[in-house]
Amino acid sequence: MLSQRQDEPLPWRQRLMLRLHLAYCTACTNVSRQFEALRRAMQRFRE
């Protein structure tokens, strides 16, 4: 889901589930931030 939401808007139900999960899961929260850093880094190749 963390990966998929970078490619498509998630259905609201999944979005809610993910938010709930991220509220207590440190591992997934960290991965989510890593994905964010990765995406931003990839955009820098276009500079």
Binding site: D7, T26, N30, Q34, E36, L38, F45
Partner: protein, 192 residues
């Protein structure tokens, strides 16, 4: 050529100033030095021949990037057709990311500030290094998505893949990259 009246007169030299940029992106996408160089030469020649079609409503670089993207897709299609699917060397590595209960084998490290981290040259170099180590096709799909900005639908159409296959490939790319970056790129961002 000299007498041609053109409101958007583009000199070849102007196009060529974007060569280094195009080459960097082409290398990342095609994973082949010579192929990337040929491809960029094609792109610049093609752009010069069709410079009248450049309307100036996007930047020159954006226009060139679109031409490069289309050229890369043609080359990928050809490559994928001619080369049998590689035995995914990343499989084992991928499985090792999770323990037998399906949880992360190691706690993913904390990134304090993604916006700050991505500005660091060291991180960018680590990302590039890790992309080059991805299984070829997975890396190619990922670069099309993240650097060229292709949407899932375009990837399906351009590469003849199903939606779920595109998602799986992108998911694998991101997971393998984050695992690779754990070893180098995210390291210095660790808390404490």
């Amino acid at each position: 050529m000299q007498g041609h009246v053109n409101p958007v007169a583009i000199e070849f030299e102007t196009l060529a100033t974007h060569r280094a940029y195009l080459l960097r992106v082409a290398r990342l996408e095609l994973r082949d030095e010579h192929l990337a160089e040929d491809c960029v030469s094609d792109v610049l020649t093609h752009a010069f021949e069709r410079r009248e079609t450049f309307r100036g409503d996007s930047s020159l670089r954006t226009w060139l990037t679109t031409i490069l993207k289309n050229r890369c897709i043609d080359l990928l299609r050809k490559q994928w057709r001619e080369q049998p699917l590689e035995p995914a060397p990343g499989e084992q590595e991928f499985d090792n990311l999770f323990d037998e209960t399906g949880h992360y084998a190691e706690m993913p490290s904390h990134v304090r500030d993604p916006a700050e981290l991505c500005q660091e040259e060291g991180f960018l170099a680590a990302v590039q290094h890790c992309i080059d180590r991805l299984p070829k096709r997975i890396g190619q799909v990922f670069v099309l998505r993240e650097v060229f900005g292709s949407e899932t639908k375009e990837l399906c159409k351009d590469l003849g893949m199903t939606t779920s296959n595109v998602w799986v490939q992108l998911y694998r790319a991101r997971m393998m990259l984050r695992s690779c970056l754990e070893k180098t790129g995210f390291g210095h961002a660790r808390a404490g």
